[in-house]
Amino acid sequence: MIRMLGLQLRRDRLTMAVWILGTALLALGSVAAVAKEYGTHHEQATVLRLALANPSVLAFRGAPNGASTGSMLWFELFTWLAVVVGLMNTFFATRHGRADEELGRRELVAAAPIARSAPLAATLVLGVIANAVLGLLLAGAFAAGNADAADALTAGATFAVTGLAFLGVGLLVGELAPTGRSANSIGVAVVIAAYVLRAGGDALGTVHLSSLTLHPAWLSWVSPIGWGEQTLALTDDRVALLLPGLALALVTAVVALVVHARRDLGASLLPDRPGRAAASPLLRGTFGLTWRLHRPALIGWAAGGAVLGLATGSLAHAAGDLAASGSPQIVQTLKLIVPGGRGELVSLFLGVLMLLVGLLAAAAGIQGALRMRQEEAEGRAEPLLAAPVSRSRLLRDAWIVGALAAIVVMAAAGVLGWLSLIGTDPDVAARALGQALIELPAALVFPGIAALAVAVLPRAAVAITWALFAIAIVLGLFGELLRLPQRVIQASPFDHIPNVPFDDAGPSVILLAIDVALAIAAVVLIRRRDLTT
């Protein structure tokens, strides 16, 4: 057991360290940002009142509890951090569980003189340690934001317990699912379901505007993220609400251990579905193949775009109402929430939200274009290239699928934004759709960069592309907050996208030309290099 623990720790030290430290840094950064932006009681009250009037904001964020920094932090941070913590735990459980078993590494270990349950028990222990460390670091982050020590510790414990609940679920899923991939999909689905239940419960809850509090509907009470949120750790003392999470962790872990002790190596309760005996006509070419490989990811990205589109609709609507009410104080506060600071309020809102959608679309596009590299590195491009298929064609197909993914994300966001506004405010609805479409030329730069990197620097392509994307995120979302020079911010293609309505389509046309040029350069240059694994 101890050796198994050592082995798993050794294999996972970097991955887990990145997850834990990344989450803690995210929390620390957000704590600082919230303290800076909503420092005064008055600002907090204004923002929370706006939020409570808007079910979609409550669904998106969480439940406030009075006007204070602690309430503000919990409202802004808890549910999203809980999603990150949940994903960390389910991925962790699969990495050391079903994925290991599927790839045959478990067989090597199981043949050694150790108990059958030792690997699972070791995963459990390591997971508990990881969540405890994460909880302590998060407590530290909240303490750094001036929460008192007891509150900060409760907050850390809440995250740790939420994590443990998902760890148990992840371990159980690993016993049931046939493959590492399906285990991860089910794990992600469970985390998202927990978030969505909580979102529904908070959106449908009873609002008390006078005290700025929210009593969530029952939906929140069947979600581990809902239980965690309702501890209201930074403003209240409801430690008893840690119990349901602990109980879920305990029950799922015990069931996982029992199932594990009784089943064969490689067996699973859910069968792996058989595939088709022959390919459908859609799968007869490389484009069909690339599309088929990228389809599940694309559906996920499009769903993300759709959710952001819906949120855009209701937020833009609210912003429009507020701007119309004309209270300069509120307008001022809203401008504080939104980075940027030019243009009128609705345009500003649409611009920022659609920038988020644009980044999402860019990420979907990058993933599609990098597919070629993944296929090449894992040896699956070789049989294709040994058929009458050129490298240029493979890369072209990957780029097209990436570009399509980006377009689908933008279209999903734009159309849903439009649909959610068309009944009440046709003018803003058209603007939302327009703003979504106008972001496309900037988003499409990224699949182009990915394709070019694959063509020229295959081994570094993945790292280079995502690094450039991360820089674009920082420039776009935090550039003005960090007071970076304007010249630096302009390095991001998204900075050249105008807000709707606009006069000058020139930058968009130039960006489109750059997109096409990048893709053509990539397709031409990849002819010159060896297949590289």
Binding site: E102, T179, R181, D272, P274, G275, R276, A277, A278, A279, L283, R284, G285, T286, G288, L289, R292, L293, E378, G379, R380, E382, P383, L384, L385, A386, A387, P388, V389, S390, R529, D530, L531
Partner: protein, 302 residues
């Protein structure tokens, strides 16, 4: 076109490693050509150059009369390939993979496809991630054989197959050869090559060290004999086809040309035999015996 593959002086380097160091390879149209060598000798690298997946640093090469780097797509219309290490798409079934790969070449011959699936006992509905190594290899083999090609390039295609499946594979190679196709079969197993190939090229450290018909290479197909006998060692040594006779712990140890076994065994039994083992030399032994010194001399340079 008399040669399906013609390569001369091929050089390929990866950083400081010289994977191919002036390799020559000639495969006549319509022959089954063995491409032999120990692991790491440069077989797969050569094949990837022939497929246009890697660009040669120097040397000349034509495949089906064309330059494989420039005209890869055109060549591949008439070519079927089985990689040494078969990676499948985890969420595509075997049947889908076969249809995809043959579809790129113009589509499978459906009766052939059905027969191959039966002969290789392959379940086409299983997902790629569910196949064992041998079954992954079968998927690639069915995809290669389910549509006729002019040239078949097979990189250690039997490394994961059991003996029954190996004989199915050999039957397929004989079928396509009888239909006039050219086959390049890379392997590190001498007996497999002996059963299928008319001509053989042997590579070592990125160079062809031997090339010719199997008859030319009789010295490579000798059988090693260890026998305890009353026969006179000097008389045995004088027999036609006996080489390198030595006396070890009361036994005679020597090599015999395989086509002279008859006479040697007759002489041995006539004199009386109390114990006998006969082993075909492994490829590694052959290399050690025939190229050991030369390779040892070259090693520092490589």
């Amino acid at each position: 076109m008399t040669h399906a593959i013609e390569a001369a002086g091929l050089v390929k380097t990866f950083g400081r490693t010289r994977a191919l160091d002036g390799l020559d390879l000639t495969v006549a149209a319509g022959e089954v050509h063995g491409f032999l060598g120990p692991n790491g000798a440069g077989k797969s690298t050569t094949i990837r150059v022939l497929l246009g997946l890697l660009r040669r640093r120097s040397g000349t090469v034509t495949v089906l009369g064309r330059d494989p780097w420039r005209d890869a797509v055109a060549i591949h219309r008439d070519l079927a390939y089985v990689p040494g290490d078969v990676a499948l798409w985890p969420n595509l079934s075997g049947g889908e993979t076969i249809d995809l790969l043959t579809g790129l070449r113009g589509g499978a011959d459906l009766t052939l496809r059905a027969r191959l699936l039966t002969d290789f006992e392959l379940d086409p509905k299983k997902k790629g991630r569910g196949y064992s190594k041998g079954n992954r290899q079968k998927v690639a083999l069915v995809a290669a054989f389910a549509r006729r090609a002019e040239l078949y390039v097979l990189d250690e295609p039997t490394s994961g197959l059991d003996p029954v499946m190996e004989s199915v594979f050999q039957a397929e190679v004989r079928r396509v050869a009888s239909e006039g196709a050219t086959v390049l079969l890379s392997s590190h197993i001498l007996s497999e090559v002996e059963q299928l190939c008319e001509r053989v090229t042997i590579v070592r450290a990125g160079r062809a060290v031997e090339s010719g018909t199997l008859a030319d290479m009789r010295h490579l197909t000798r059988t090693s004999i260890r026998v305890t006998t009353a026969a006179d060692p000097a008389a045995i040594a004088r027999l036609a086809g006996v080489h390198d006779l030595q006396q070890e712990a009361g036994a005679l140890v020597f090599d015999v040309d395989t086509d002279r076994l008859d006479g040697v065994l007759a002489a041995l039994t006539a004199a009386g035999v109390s114990a006998l083992t006969a082993t075909p030399p492994s490829l590694e032994e052959l290399f050690l015996r025939h190229y050991g010194d030369r390779v040892a001399l070259e090693e520092p340079a490589a």
